[in-house]
C-alpha cells in the first residue's frame, strides 16, 4: 500500500487532494442534490437497524462489564455514568465508524471500482460530467453528515441497553442510575463524540471513494481495493480516535 514514512505522508497528501478537489465541485453547478439524498438514504437510513442492534448490545456489555468492576469496590451506582461516558465519547463514534466502513464504505469502493474498471467513469467524463462532482462529493458529504447522526443513535440506544442490564440484571437502583448519569455527563462529552464522528465519516468516505476511484485490473482489482478500503478505514478510525480524543477539549466537569 505505501512504503515507509515518506510514502505514508505522500498517501495522506493524495487523499487530501482528492477530498479537496471533490469538495470544490460542490460549489459548481449543477448541484448534485438528488445524488446527495440518495447517499444519505444509503449511508444513513439503511444503517439504522444495524446501528441500533450493535448499539444496544455494546451498551449492554459495557454496563455489565463496568458493574463487575464497580461491584468489587461497592460503587455500582456509577455503572450508568461510566457506560454513557464511554458510549458518548469513544464507543459510539468508533463503533459507528467501523459499521459505516464495513457497510457503506465497502459498498462505495466496490461500486465506484466497478464503474472504473467497466469504463463507466470514463463514460461520465466523456459526457462532460465530472465523476468527482457526480459520484464522489455527494458520498463524502453525506457520510460526514450521516455518521454523527448514526453515532448519536448508537449512543442513545446503547444507553437503553446499559440501563436495562444495569437495572434489571445487575440490580442498580434506577433512580441512582439516572441521577448519576445526569449529574456527571457533560454536554461536551456529547459534542466530543459528534465532532469525532463528523471527521470519521468524512475520512472514511474519502478513503473508500479514493480506493474505488483508483481501482485497476478488473474484478480482481475491485475485490482488492474493497478489501484495502475496509482495512484502511478501520485503521484510520482507531488511530485518529486516539489523537482526536486528546485534541478535542473535554470541557468542564464538576468533579
Amino acid at each position: 500500500m505505501f512504503t515507509g514514512f515518506v510514502g505514508y505522508i505522500r498517501y495522506l497528501g493524495t487523499l487530501t487532494l482528492f477530498a479537496t478537489q471533490s469538495i470544490a465541485w460542490l460549489f459548481v453547478r449543477p448541484y448534485r442534490f438528488p445524488q446527495f439524498i440518495d447517499e444519505m438514504e444509503f449511508i444513513g437510513n439503511q444503517s439504522l437497524s444495524i446501528i441500533s442492534l450493535t448499539g444496544l448490545f455494546t451498551g449492554a456489555v459495557l454496563a455489565y462489564q463496568s458493574w463487575i468492576a464497580f461491584d468489587i469496590v461497592g460503587t455500582d451506582s456509577l455503572v450508568g455514568v461510566s457506560t454513557s461516558l464511554a458510549l458518548a465519547r469513544e464507543l459510539g463514534p468508533v463503533m459507528t465508524a467501523i459499521v459505516v466502513t464495513g457497510r457503506a464504505g465497502a459498498a462505495m469502493t466496490a461500486k465506484i471500482g466497478l464503474m472504473r474498471v467497466s469504463e463507466q467513469i470514463d463514460a461520465l467524463e466523456v459526457m462532460a460530467i465530472s465523476p468527482k462532482q457526480y459520484l464522489i462529493a455527494p458520498k463524502i458529504v453525506a457520510a460526514a453528515i450521516a455518521t454523527p447522526f448514526l453515532a448519536g443513535i448508537f449512543t442513545l440506544v446503547g444507553n437503553v441497553g446499559g440501563y436495562l442490564v444495569g437495572v434489571f440484571l445487575c440490580g442498580v437502583d434506577p433512580g441512582v442510575y439516572i441521577h448519576n448519569l445526569k449529574s456527571f455527563l457533560a454536554p461536551w462529552d456529547i459534542y466530543h463524540g459528534l465532532i469525532k464522528s463528523i471527521i470519521f465519516g468524512f475520512v472514511i468516505a474519502t478513503i473508500c471513494c479514493y480506493k474505488g476511484y483508483t481501482t485497476k485490473n478488473g474484478a480482481e482489482g475491485v475485490g482488492k481495493s474493497t478489501n484495502e478500503s475496509v482495512v484502511l478505514g478501520i485503521v484510520f478510525t482507531l488511530v485518529m480516535d486516539y489523537f482526536l480524543s486528546v485534541i478535542i477539549p473535554t470541557g468542564m466537569r464538576s468533579q
Binding site: P30, D122, E125, A128
Partner: protein, 252 residues
C-alpha cells in the same frame, strides 16, 4: 475555434504504458476531417482504443499533440475540456452503460444533464425515437444486465447519439452483431452522421462495412498510421500488411 481545422488531429503522438514494453503509439499522425466518416482498422491490440481515448482526453500523450477543432487538448483547463467534450458522442468498446440505470434512463442521462430545457415528455420522445432507430424499442424498461452483448452495443450507440454530437466516435460498433443487424447499425451511423454534417470516427474490423460507408480508411500498425486512403484507394493498396488484411477478409 478554427472552422477549417480538422475535427480531430493527431500529431506525432507517442504513448508508452511501461518501459519494458514497446510503445503503443509511436508517432501517430492522423486527421479526422469535418463531415467525414473515418474508419480506423488494425489488428487486435495495436492501439485503436488507445488512439480514441487520446482524442477524448481520457489519456494523455507522452509527447505529440491531439487537437479537437484546432484546440490542443493538453492546453485546455477543466472547464474548456468539458466544453470540448460536449462535441463528442462516444460508444466504448465495452459499451460502459450505467448498470444501475435502465435502458431508458441510460439514454435519457445525457439529455437530463445537458438539455435542461427539455421536458420529461420531450426526453421520452427522443429516447423512444433513438431506440426505434437501433431497433430496441421493446427493451426500453430493461436493465443493462438483462441485455445481450449486441443489444448493449445498440443501447450504447443510442446513448452516444442522444445529443446529436458533432463528432461520433464508436469503438467497434458492430462487433458481435449478426450481419443483418450490423448493416442496420452501419447504415444508421452513416445516415445520422451525414444528416447533420457531423464527423464520425469508427474503429471496426469489418472491412466490408468500412468500404461501404467510409470516406476514408486508415490502418494502424506498430503505433503508426501506415495508410490513409479512400475506400477505392485502400482496395488498390499494395502495402503488404494491407494486402494481407484485405485478402483474409476476401476483398481482393
Amino acid at each position: 475555434m478554427n472552422s477549417s481545422a480538422a475535427a480531430i488531429s493527431f500529431r506525432g503522438v507517442h504513448k508508452q504504458f511501461s518501459l519494458d514494453q514497446a510503445p503503443v503509439l509511436a508517432g501517430l499522425d492522423l486527421d479526422i476531417k469535418q463531415g467525414e466518416i473515418h474508419v480506423l482498422i488494425g489488428f487486435s491490440g495495436t492501439g485503436k482504443s488507445v488512439t480514441i481515448k487520446h482524442a477524448l482526453g481520457l489519456m494523455k500523450p507522452d509527447s505529440g499533440q491531439v487537437s479537437v477543432f484546432g484546440s490542443e487538448i493538453a492546453e485546455l483547463n477543466d472547464y474548456q475540456l468539458r466544453e470540448m467534450r460536449m462535441n463528442f458522442g462516444m460508444l466504448f468498446q465495452g459499451v460502459a452503460l450505467f448498470d444501475s440505470l435502465s435502458v431508458y434512463e441510460n439514454i435519457a442521462f445525457p439529455l437530463r444533464e445537458h438539455r435542461k430545457e427539455m421536458s420529461e415528455q420531450e426526453i421520452r420522445h427522443r429516447v423512444e425515437e433513438l431506440l426505434l432507430k437501433v431497433e430496441l424499442e421493446k427493451a426500453i424498461q430493461k436493465m443493462p444486465e438483462e441485455l445481450s452483448g449486441g443489444m448493449k452495443k445498440r443501447v450504447g450507440l443510442a446513448r452516444a447519439m442522444a445529443l446529436k454530437p458533432k463528432i461520433l466516435i464508436c469503438d467497434e460498433p458492430t462487433t458481435g452483431l449478426d450481419p443483418v443487424t450490423a448493416q442496420v447499425i452501419d447504415t444508421l451511423i452513416e445516415k445520422s452522421t451525414r444528416e447533420v454534417n457531423a464527423s464520425a470516427f469508427l474503429v471496426s474490423h469489418d472491412i466490408h462495412a468500412a468500404i461501404r460507408i467510409a470516406d476514408r480508411i486508415s490502418m494502424i500498425l506498430e503505433g503508426k498510421i501506415i495508410i490513409t486512403e479512400s475506400p477505392e484507394g485502400f482496395k488498390r493498396s499494395q502495402h503488404p500488411v494491407v494486402l494481407q488484411f484485405l485478402e483474409s477478409a476476401g476483398v481482393v
